[in-house]
């Protein structure tokens, strides 16, 4: 079975972001970029399924600017076999990404597609669900455990999902779309020899036009602002003082 993994280049999760002075967007110049943490988990899960013999090939795909090839190389170093870069400098919203991925799914016919549940920049949490809708495949979102059971036409994917209030397990027919939650696995680090080997692995570059997909969206970003700053508070010296402040000053007790 072939597995397709979608990855995204985002600002590193440790970076404290700055809003541009003209409020047009967040300032990304000279900021450390990395693979979205949820996507790392998706790559790790695909590689583990290959190591278990469930998957035969892992294909990594991204939509983004030229620099996003770094993240594809990372995915290749982590164990993906080949990569597809759909290059665009436009701000690709979830729907456009899902449409492009749907074309790749049509072409590659994977048995399973794994994505992160959300990107930590736009915080949308949409692409996997949209891809499932566009390809008419079932979805196992916010997965903390995936297990493939049965064989032949009886093959099923059991996905344990993190839901409000606890866990839910669903059984899906294959092919299926899975999005990863943080607790699905602990991603490995790429070793230097693997990073070197990754440079020789195949990486196809395509454009949205190759797939006949329009990236422009009907949603316009009008303004980006910093949230209201919280005023730094005070330190209290004792439990008594804390209770007194909460009762008489903050009036929340």
């Amino acid at each position: 079975m072939k597995i397709l993994v979608a990855v995204k280049r985002v600002i590193d999760y440790n970076v404290k972001i700055r809003v541009k002075a003209d409020h047009s967007d967040v300032d990304l110049t000279n900021v450390k970029m990395a693979m979205n943490p949820f996507c790392e988990i998706a790559v790790e899960e695909a590689v583990r399924l290959k190591e278990k013999g469930t998957a035969t090939e892992v294909v990594a795909v991204t939509v983004g600017p030229k620099a996003a090839q770094e993240q594809l190389r990372t995915a290749l170093a982590l164990g993906a076999d080949r990569a597809i870069h759909i290059e665009t400098d436009e701000r690709a919203e979830s729907l456009a990404v899902a449409k492009l991925l749907a074309k790749v799914v049509e072409e590659e016919q994977p048995g399973l597609v794994i994505l992160g549940k959300q990107a930590i920049d736009t915080d949308n949490n949409q692409t996997g669900q949209m891809l499932a809708a566009l390809t008419n495949l079932p979805q196992g979102t916010f997965a903390s455990e995936v297990e493939i059971s049965g064989d032949g036409s009886d093959k099923k994917l059991n996905v344990t999902r993190e839901i409000d209030g606890g866990l839910q397990t669903v059984a899906l027919t294959l092919p299926a779309i899975v999005t990863t939650d943080l607790r699905l696995n602990e991603p490995r680090y790429a070793k230097l020899p693997d990073i070197m080997k990754a440079k020789k692995k195949p990486l196809d570059v395509k454009t949205p036009a190759d797939y006949g997909v329009e990236v422009a969206s009907k949603v316009t970003l009008l303004k980006v602002e910093s949230p209201a700053e919280r005023k730094g508070g005070i330190k209290v010296a004792s439990v008594d003082e804390l209770i007194d402040k909460l009762k008489n000053e903050a009036k929340v007790l």
């Binding site: 949308n124 669900q129 949209m130 009907k218 949230p227 005070i234």
Partner: protein, 308 residues
């Protein structure tokens, strides 16, 4: 303007989140219908009909909608969406699971986690773990939106909307419910609690979370946790407050043994009053806390409990 709100259910009953989503719908303006979908949901439909500002409750009561699996729910929403200008759901795991399917099937974008309404087509939403707020305008004919419930006050319950059945039955051969393991708790729901007390890695282990119980009981508080505490296996993941967990905005938030990583702050920094209890006086949590107490939580917590 006509708006369809997907009701949130919790163990078959109407969840409190729905009243907040209706408030967001009122901010947009227009006629508001609620869709209650599930199996055996008459009580939830009756409760939805009492929410202020609701015109009509549409009830899809069928086994295929039990557990609100994404595939049949998406098909149901696509069937009902025509005639509405907006479809709203809370940004719960159900809303997040189902609404993007509707959006894609209707070839429109979706706006996630909306926390403010500027007009019928312009909305505020947090990006980068809440470290920036984006104002976005949608020119799509159908606006599909998930609502951050802490951004809107719940509407009252003196309404009397009409209830009508939805006949459409989706067929679903792709997904099947296997089981659910829900954490049992007598405490208030984390998302709606007036007071939340959360523990972090500093709690040391899961057993020590019991130190929060007595305080939570006295304050009528829900108990939360940081991602570090969840990842360390101290407590189940549904207690997690943060960018990847639940977003809360209680009157009082007490962070115990939590350093205050960006991802945690994203889930609680809109709380009215924040208290931090931490032995490290340099911990970032003190930069957002209204009241900070530096010290050993194992001494402070029992003292706090006895003095409340």
């Amino acid at each position: 303007m006509s708006i369809l709100v997907l009701a949130d259910l919790h163990e078959g009953q109407l969840a409190s989140a729905t009243a907040h989503v209706v408030a967001a719908a009122q901010a947009i303006g227009g006629e508001i219908d609620i869709l209650v979908a599930g199996e055996g949901v008459q009580a939830a439909a009756d409760a939805a009909a009492k929410l202020d500002g609701v015109n009509k409750v549409r009830v899809a009561d069928n086994a295929v909608y039990a557990h609100q699996l994404a595939e049949p729910m998406g098909a149901l929403l696509v069937e009902l969406a025509d005639g509405y200008t907006h479809v709203l759901a809370s940004a719960s795991t159900t809303g997040k699971n189902v609404l993007p399917r509707l959006a894609a099937l209707k070839d429109v974008s979706q706006l996630s986690d909306v926390l403010g309404v500027e007009s019928a087509d312009t909305f505020l939403r947090p990006i980068y773990a809440g470290n920036a707020i984006a104002t976005v305008k949608s020119d799509d004919t159908l606006k599909v939106i998930t609502v951050r419930t802490t951004g809107f006050d719940a509407v009252g319950t003196s309404g009397s909307a009409t209830i009508e059945a939805v006949d459409f039955v989706a067929d679903n051969s792709q997904s099947r419910f296997v089981k659910e393991e829900l954490a049992q708790s007598d405490r208030p729901e984390l998302g709606g609690a007036k007071v939340v007390i959360s523990g972090g890695r500093g709690m040391g282990n899961g057993e020590n979370f019991k130190l929060l119980d007595g305080i939570a009981d006295k304050l009528g508080a829900a108990i939360g946790a940081s991602r570090a505490a969840v990842d360390a296996g101290f407590v189940p993941n549904d207690m997690q407050v943060g960018q990847t967990g639940k977003i809360v905005a209680p009157d009082l938030y007490i962070a115990v043994g939590i350093s205050g990583a960006i991802q945690h702050l994203a889930g609680m920094k809109d709380s009215k009053v924040i208290v931090a209890i931490n032995k490290d006086d340099e911990a970032p949590i003190f930069q957002v806390a209204d009241y900070g107490l530096v010290g050993d939580l194992f001494e402070i917590l029992p003292e706090l409990e006895s003095k409340l």
